[in-house]
């Protein structure tokens, strides 16, 4: 890779890595190591293809598509990912009075609620409301129709409401 292209790549990954890590963190249900594996896989792949990728019309959507592919591939290929039998889910701390460390407990509860949303719907919620992709960009990333994105969004939100009424941790009554 030419020095100029490498510098472009470095500037790009410097800017996007924190957000990609957090996106992967949500997708993996709060597993930082897995998230870093997925992001490293994504950005390594991007490095190999940087010569072409840098000219993409929507580089952000392109990288998110790579991230989603890396996430799905990682789920397929990981031995840890093979659940021979459903394991009981981690109990979700709920309704406890505020106290020290609530920020962490809140984050854990929120991720547990998100993890209970079916994977396809969770993916759409994270891409739309965390990665800030539009309906059209999300459809492009997931190779599906915009109608499908909208319906998955609605179902995902309904599932999220069942797990964690959206006013519960915010003090806002719906």
């Amino acid at each position: 890779m030419h020095a100029t292209q490498r510098q472009e790549y470095v500037e790009f990954v410097t800017a996007v890595t924190p957000k990609l890590r957090r996106t992967a963190y949500l997708l993996t249900g709060g597993d930082a190591h897995r998230a870093d594996d997925v992001v490293q896989q994504t950005l390594t792949h991007l490095y190999v293809k940087w010569g072409r990728a840098r000219g993409a019309d929507d580089l952000g959507a392109y990288v998110h598509r790579m991230l989603v592919n890396a996430f799905r591939q990682e789920r397929r290929s990981r031995w840890f990912g093979v659940q021979l039998f459903d394991r009981a889910p981690e109990p979700v701390p709920r309704g406890a009075p505020p106290g020290p460390g609530d920020g962490v407990a809140d984050a854990v509860s929120l991720r547990a609620a998100l993890a209970a949303v079916p994977p396809g719907q969770r993916l759409v919620l994270v891409l739309r409301f965390y990665a800030d992709l539009s309906v059209e960009q999300t459809a492009e990333v997931l190779h599906c129709s915009t109608g499908n994105v909208k319906s998955q969004t609605a179902r995902g939100l309904a599932a999220l409401r069942r797990e964690l009424p959206l006013g519960e941790t915010t003090g806002v009554t719906r």
Partner: protein, 365 residues
């Protein structure tokens, strides 16, 4: 969805990442890893061309030239003589009420523990901590031709070819059997796999910030094949006629028993049936409150799909937060149980042993 709800969801997702620690994915590291990937790609291209030329010359067979082996390439018989105590033939299925492996060694400090078994395979799980400090050991054993394990091997191989990333590579044998080690890009996760008998695989995975490969190796070398009954902290549960036990899982958190899950099939497939579980958790996360035999209960009925969740609390004075739960997952399961009211009664019939925290008093299935 209105704007307020969208704002709430966005805020929720941002808060859910609040405890993510700074990572080690610096631009310099990414460039270095990217450069290695580019070099591997070039070598592979050159290597493929060389192999093609040799094949055209008919030399490959004589020289035995070929790509490095991976588990998916070697579904032939294991290379070593049988290990004492281990079967020479992999079973075609496992009985869920018996576990076949015992750990001869495990790392210190792994306080969470679990076992799950079904006909196609069994899993032992040990873990401690969360986030960057998380440590984990998972042992999986497959029955002969276990589709999950074999598909995963093949998937791992294909995806790795596509990405150019190194996958499971040949490593030192396990008790004389050819073995392969997979290391994740971060280096924290490894998986050591081998065939204990033709078409029967064992995989030992380890997550450890320091020496995951050493942990996996020692667990693998000291693993023993011992058939022992699975015990649970429950009084015997008479299965309804037509139901067959197909799976069981038991888990512990912080050294304390946390849950038991029994899976029953009512039809030809394991998915057609129901399950019963006992959990040390708070009752009634969702659904409708009711009572059953004077005890608090919680029901979720999904009328369109003949599926539902039936929870009954006040299970035992020895475990006040425990509840029993029947989950019906198919019309066949509901029919075998005898309908929704019967499903709730079935959940209410589950009993703990006198002291569920004393494993000596646990009962075999």
């Amino acid at each position: 969805m209105n704007g307020t709800e969208e704002t709430l969801v966005r805020g929720m997702l941002h808060r859910a990442t609040a405890d993510l620690s700074p990572g080690e994915l610096t631009p310099d590291r990414l460039v270095a890893v990217g450069e290695r990937a580019v070099r591997r790609r070039r070598r592979r291209t050159v290597g493929s061309a060389a192999v093609t030329v040799l094949a055209l010359l008919g030399v490959t067979v004589l020289l035995g030239v070929g790509p490095a082996g991976s588990p998916a390439d070697r579904v032939g018989p294991p290379t070593a003589s049988p290990t004492p105590g281990w079967p020479t033939e992999a079973p075609t299925s496992f009985a869920p009420e018996r576990r076949v492996l015992r750990l001869g060694w495990q790392p210190d400090g792994l306080t969470d523990e679990g076992f799950s078994g079904r006909r196609s395979g069994q899993e032992i799980y040990l873990a401690s901590g969360t986030g960057p400090a998380a440590r984990q050991v998972v042992v999986k054993v497959g029955a002969r031709g276990n589709e999950d394990l074999l598909n995963l091997l093949l998937g791992q191989r294909e995806s790795s070819r596509e990405s150019g990333q190194a996958i499971g590579v040949p490593t030192d044998p396990v008790r004389g059997h050819d073995a392969w080690m997979y290391t994740s890009p971060s280096g924290y996760d490894v998986s050591l796999s081998w065939q204990y008998a033709p078409d029967g695989w064992v995989v030992v995975s380890a997550r450890d910030a320091e020496r995951p490969a050493e942990v996996a190796r020692r667990v693998a070398e000291e693993l023993r094949w011992e058939s022992t009954p699975v015990t649970v902290p429950l009084a015997p549960i008479p299965a309804p006629p037509g139901a067959q036990l197909r799976g069981v899982s038991v888990d512990f958190r912080s050294g304390r028993w946390n849950g038991v899950h029994l899976n029953y099939a009512a039809g030809a497939t394991d998915d057609d049936g129901f399950s019963v579980a006992v959990r040390r958790d708070r009752l009634g996360r969702r659904g409708t409150a009711t009572t059953e035999a004077g005890r608090s209960a919680w029901v979720v009925n999904l009328s369109d799909h003949s599926i539902g969740v039936y929870q009954v609390g006040e299970l035992s004075a020895a475990c006040s937060p425990c509840y029993a739960e029947a989950v019906v997952s198919s019309p066949g399961g509901l029919a075998v149980l005898g309908g929704r009211a019967a499903a709730l009664r079935f959940a209410a019939s589950v009993r703990l042993v006198d002291d569920p925290d004393d494993r000596k008093g646990w009962r075999p299935l």
